[in-house]
Subunit: 89 residues, 2 copies
């Protein structure tokens, strides 16, 4: 039982990502020349009001992603149930 | 051995997040009234040129986050080594 979900929204592979390219160039200018590519996306941490089973959390978060958080024409989303507000397990 | 890292950059708790508040309101307007709060952050998927041990990947990505990807005044970052380009394990 948890009430925290992390939704990661990333551009589809076919979509150009100038922000990611700029990140690669900036890292290279700082001396980090071992990066092949970078892609920049969004992360949304949702805190539900009530604790739910992981399956229910994922199901509801997926609906929210489809309806609001993710533009399915050019973006994919991935959902993880997490232990606490801060995020990544 | 992997060459993919996911860096999640989120606002510190003390920092107001109007984009997150707008997300809560928009979800509520769509009928999802069981969300207490939402926080919006960035995710950066880095693909290194060479495979490295997870420890080395994390160390290098942390340096990059400190120097470029994260504004440490108002943001935190978390690093995960992932299996493939797409991201979340």
């Amino acid at each position: 039982m948890s009430r925290f979900v992390q939704v990661v929204v990333t551009l589809k592979n076919a979509v150009l990502d100038p922000q990611g390219d700029a990140t690669v160039h900036a890292l290279s200018a700082l001396g980090f020349d071992n990066i092949e590519s970078a892609r920049v996306g969004k992360v949304i941490h949702l805190a539900f009001k009530n604790e739910l089973e992981p399956g229910q959390l994922k199901e509801q978060a997926a609906l929210m992603a489809q309806k609001l958080l993710c533009n399915s024409v050019m973006e994919n989303f991935q959902i993880q149930v997490v232990e606490d507000k801060a995020g990544v397990p």
